[in-house]
């Protein structure tokens, strides 16, 4: 029963989801269908709470064992707990809203600049990688390098000043080469996911049950 029950639950949920999506396609919404969606959303939201518990367990374990950089784990827990508790205590646990001055200040003046800085560093690493990695070692690497150069010249204002044809060339790369390749990739990913999901629902794939 330990194995069969979760598998049956998964199959039931899958069939229900399939039925909901097909009936929605005909725009015949029903109240219970709407409630089911919201119930599902609630279930997914509780996963955030489970995630917090998991994160705490993981980092507590690292701190207890004093593994390398355990101080970072302590810092992670401190930041998570203090920011979370501060947000909850502002209005009480059952009230929504996060527009309080200091709560916003932490976001606007600490998190936001840190996040932006981290992404800005990419410019420096790309510049450094440009002269070491984009090499004409073979045909494939050459094609990739030329494409990257054309798209960069099209994206920056300086490109059309050098030659007005970059836009058409970049458009050709994007529309004729890139779009069908992306579409093919998406179809491939979908087929792979579909096969995996089908295996799970038929009980052929059991790793997610820990079996």
């Amino acid at each position: 029963m330990k194995r069969e029950l979760p598998m049956l639950l998964a199959l039931g949920a899958a069939l229900l989801r399939l039925f909901l999506e097909l009936s929605h396609y005909q725009r015949t919404e029903m109240q219970w269908q709407l409630h089911t969606n919201q119930w599902w959303a609630f279930l997914a939201a509780t996963a955030v709470f489970i995630g917090v518990i998991n994160l705490c367990r993981l980092h507590m374990h690292r701190i207890r064992r004093k593994v390398a950089h355990w101080q970072m784990s302590a810092w992670c827990l401190f930041v998570m707990a203090s920011f979370g508790l501060y947000g909850i205590l502002l209005k009480g646990p059952f009230q929504a809203g996060n527009q309080e001055h200091w709560f916003r200040w932490i976001f606007d003046s600490v998190l936001q600049p840190a996040d932006r800085t981290m992404f800005s560093l990419l410019a420096f690493y790309i510049a450094s990688a440009a002269y070491r990695s984009f090499r004409m070692r073979n045909l494939e690497a050459t094609v990739m390098m030329v494409t990257a150069a054309v798209l960069m010249l099209n994206q920056a204002s300086i490109g059309p000043m050098i030659w007005s044809g970059w836009g058409d060339m970049a458009g050709w790369f994007m529309d004729i080469i890139n779009a069908p390749a992306q579409r093919g990739l998406a179809i491939g990913i979908f087929l792979g996911s579909y096969a995996m999901v089908l295996r799970m629902f038929l009980g052929l794939e059991r790793k997610h049950l820990g079996l």
Binding site: F119, M174, N178
Partner: protein, 276 residues
Amino acid sequence: MSIWERFERINPRFIFLLMLFVLITPMIRPIGLPVYITPLTQALYDWVEDLPPGSVVLFDSAFAPGSASEIEPTMRALLHHLFQNDHKVVMMAQWELGAMHSSTVLDELAAEYGKEYGVDYANVGWRAGSENWFIGLRDDFIGGMVGVDMSGNDLTEMPLTRDLAAVRPEYFAGVVCFASGNPGVDDWVTYNPNMPLFVQATAVQVPTYMRFVETRQIEALLSGQAGGAQYEQLVGQLGEASRLMDPQGAGHLLIITLMILGNIAFIVNSKKRAAK
């Protein structure tokens, strides 16, 4: 050791310094590079121009502050455009950090135009629940948002939101998705394909979304900071993107120059090694 051999072994810190110089110089002394409007940017502008007065446009913040430099300029320019034309804006978010970031931008612009919260604009924020939450919104917008906006105000008591029953074209003129990854554009295309969809994406995401442009699943696609600069030009509100196009152009030029020099060094040194 020849100059090309030295170039191949150059210290990356020197490249970092060069990049810093190339980026900062045009900020201090702007070059004024021209901005060219692409048809996909023009499509968003034309759509806003053709909207009937008082239309409700849905914004979806699907990005983190790290991508804000590329995405925020378009959000600001578009808010200028919408508020100038007396349209209404409802902001939601598929990314929790996007909700926080966008609310600052929305509040600033609304104050500039003297717009009233709950009447001209509203911010419903982000909710946990990922795809299931998103799917539920197409049937019940207020229920999906648990009945409150980002500040805890009752959505049924605000004139703007009380009649917005669902995320459908009957209630919203269209959705503008500000995206830097998933969840984002794919959810709109998959689960709510009837909504007219306009996208401002980070430049790195644009190739992924081009397939939706070809099939008209996306009506307009603005690419990175360049898209923001183009929209600022169209609206006549030059801002951060227009100012930063010069450093971006100079940075790209440096990268291409390094690519060319790196390849010359590679060919010259390879020939030398082969001769030995």
